[in-house]
Symmetry: C2
Subunit: 495 residues, 2 copies
């Protein structure tokens, strides 16, 4: 095999990442005059759809219904929620001209997120307590005019895919319960289906979503020590219901402002995280749930055996096809070349069929992520492979190429040391003062990520905050070395 | 029931249509400052997804793979295909400002269709004959800056849903074969799955898609005598491959421009057509394939029987749920009110369960479109209902509320008469001259729709043209009454 076929090693993360996305046909950047807007060839588009389906299924199971709303919204809507508008203003693409190149009276913008357009409809849809909880979701792409230098495929782009779920509740306790449901959905998909390590964090006050009473975020570790936010849940309280006049009549006929939450799994970023965390020097490693091809069958030719091997491979394909997404690679190239190419594409399982397999009426199953080999009787095949697939995410999680490294620091020097060791999250006693926030950002390019959520049986977000506060008791902030620490908090470099 | 609950009669088409869409929660127009951009509540969003799924399934079965490409494209791409750009220029939304409200060097536009962005990627994806045919599709919304007065929900809007399939072939004969495949896919979904009458027409030269060598279009009849185009297939020949440099190396190592076709089922418009054609004075009538609820179970209470009826209804629900999308309406309102509401929502089948049904261990099945009643044994239920559902589209098609009325005229006066009788398509001998085209448009608001395709075993589009030419032999154009007729052609008023 010629050397130019080799991927850069994963230790050269940025080059490895863009090259693996391009070679495996997940992302195609070659769109002239359109930096930050990408094409997704069939392999990438299929993975994105399978990933969306995992969330759609969980959202439907928890009583959410799909809706569709416009991509383009009037600028006036953003202005209703001033706080919110200020949050997004610099990042918004603006449409100034319409038909016949005539300037518009009311400018339009490409939606950076769905709150304003969806809540303007909620003001009509919510009438009485019988309409609540109202639970909807939308599958779509959204737009952010990120600075061009920040653009990075899947992780930070001008148009990206996500799902947004918006829920309306009668009171704060129901809203808090919804936050827990969102967290469970995230856990089910991200940990149990695609095997990613992640940390749930309550963002600090100054970094919450504009208009939220608090923001829960989901951060994953990248190979270079940075973390990436791949989703959020915001408890919006009554802030948006007051801005958009979303009121319901309660049991006693009284009109009340509703409570709201929203949940946004970032589909593009989650795929970016899967590629970055699971992949290795040989290419992608896909969890079976999102693999367009879950199993590739590769016949190993042998003199005088070819007809028998071909027949056995076809019989195997026919049986596997009943339950799995499977591909029989009958092409003319060598088995070694096939191994190489399908490993690069991240196909989770490979079935090898040679003369020994035919003779023994068995197949050889090879797991992509650790190359473990398992001999399986032809008759038990579907059942045994189902078991392997069911355990795949858990095994992946226990063998991840990029572990979430968490540590704590008791001095500024220790922070520097840990950052140099590519520690993802560093816990410190912190005073929450602006000066210290700025200092961390300017000196170390490090941001405050918040306090961990629901790690030891806590039953509310407030309780999680209280624990972080209690643990910092009698401690001094290690940045200013002056002020009392308000809480134990995680800091990190971020994408 | 109070009168304000009644829909306008369907004879008052425009009011009936917008009211039925609103009441059944398919479309919500109440977005301030955003005429032509609509919201789709859960009922509408679910129907749109089911409709998309019908096409996605056919496209996958014919070897097409999904891709995703940007919503926003640089204006420079439209300029590459001059002819094409001229076709869309006045209808394009333009983005002039990006981050921090800075004016863009290269303006961006919201894509009115996918050719330019997808073909700029095809120029990289197509290398050798081994890559062909390349068959892809994209599911998305697109944008047209239609004049505000023309806006009409689902049928003509600023953002609408469609699927576009783009295929690349080695030669013209393969491209023509692809056109036939597209027509078959349309036939399968539109006639066999949703039971709509439609006419396949080859559009006249002056009305084909800019850049195509010919355009096939699919027109359906509306209640007011107009026709609506709900999809197109364009044979693009080598026009776009030359503009976008899409070349492949053939068997002999020679570089050749590829041939291309594209196929666009208009999802929004197809739903508009289903509502318009099948619906009646009582509301929607949905074909089972796209109904979010296929069967509604309504218990008919009777003194001393209520517990038994409830149990039987629940047993029925549990059994039906295995195979169908079913809803058990246990609410407190009267059965009459339930009948009314679920009929308005277009649920294709109703199951009534009263004391007689419990006693006989049977259910009463009622078809929405003709109210036919069928008694079915409890044990045979799933099998028998499957049969009813399988025949539903065909029955709908034979009982449509709006039939496609086609007639021919031998004089201008006859055209006027037929137009007044709301005839959808009128066949006339025609000279193709600009003056006559303009005259028809200005005097009768009638447009030339083209010649019928593949109605009598023809094997090519050219053969269909030849028949239309032959049939006009020795005839004079009935508009100018001077020039020789070039062909028999269909004219119609259109949406």
């Amino acid at each position: 095999m010629s050397n130019d076929l080799k991927l850069p090693p994963k230790s050269d993360f940025s080059n490895w990442y863009t090259e693996v996305l391009f070679r495996t046909a997940i992302v195609d950047k070659r769109i002239t005059d359109s930096r930050g807007f990408y094409g997704y060839p069939p392999y990438g588009a299929q993975i994105l759809s399978l990933l969306e389906d995992l969330f759609i299924s969980e959202l439907k199971n928890t009583g959410h219904f799909p809706i569709r709303t416009p991509t383009v919204i009037p600028e006036t809507l953003l202005e209703i929620e001033k706080e919110h508008a200020e949050g997004f203003a610099p990042e918004v693409w603006t449409i100034t001209h319409g038909r016949d190149n005539k300037e518009l009276n009311i400018k339009k913008v490409l939606r950076p997120t769905g709150e304003t357009i969806i809540y303007s409809l909620f003001s009509y849809w919510v009438r009485s307590h019988a309409d609540l909880p109202l639970k909807i979701f939308e599958v779509r792409s959204v737009f952010r005019a990120e600075p061009n230098k920040a653009v990075f495929p899947l992780m930070r782009t001008h148009e990206f895919y996500w799902i947004e779920a918006h829920d309306v509740q009668e009171n704060l306790s129901q809203a808090n319960k919804q936050v827990s449901e969102d967290i469970e959905i995230f856990e089910e998909v991200i940990r149990n289906k695609v095997g990613l390590p992640f940390k749930r964090l309550k963002r600090p006050e100054w970094d919450k979503f504009a208009g939220a009473i608090y923001t829960c975020a989901y951060d994953v570790p990248l190979p270079d020590g940075k973390v990436l936010q791949i989703g959020t849940t915001h408890n919006l309280g009554q802030n948006f219901s007051k801005a958009f006049d979303i009121k319901y009549e309660d049991d006693d006929g009284e009109l009340k402002y509703a409570y709201q939450t929203c949940f946004g799994p970032g589909i593009s970023r989650i795929l970016g995280a899967i590629v970055s965390i699971h992949g290795d020097d040989n290419g992608l490693i896909l969890p079976p749930a999102i693999a367009p091809i879950q199993i590739v069958i590769i016949p190993i030719p042998k003199k005088d055996w070819d007809k028998k091997i071909t027949e056995f491979a076809e019989k195997t394909f026919a049986l596997l096809e009943e339950k799995f997404r499977v591909y029989l690679d009958n092409s003319e190239v060598t088995p070694g070349r096939k191994f190489y190419e399908w490993e690069e594409k991240g196909v989770p399982l490979r079935v090898e069929i040679g003369s020994r397999e035919v003779e023994a009426n068995k197949i050889m199953l090879v797991k992509r992520f650790n190359r473990e080999k398992i001999k399986i009787d032809f008759e038990d095949m579907n059942e045994k492979i189902q078991e392997v697939i069911d355990h795949y995410p858990e095994e992946l999680l226990n063998n991840v190429n990029v572990e979430l490294k968490i540590d704590s620091a008791v001095s500024y020097d220790e922070i520097i040391e840990l950052v140099e060791k590519n520690t993802h999250l560093i816990e410190i006693p912190f005073c929450d003062n602006d000066d210290c926030v700025e200092f961390l950002k300017d000196e170390l390019n490090v941001k405050v990520r918040g306090v961990p959520l629901f790690e030891h049986g806590e039953t509310s977000v407030q309780e999680c905050e209280d624990i972080a506060t209690k643990r910092a008791k009698d401690k001094t902030c290690i940045i200013c070395n002056e002020r009392k620490a308000k809480r134990m908090i995680y800091i990190a470099r971020q994408y």
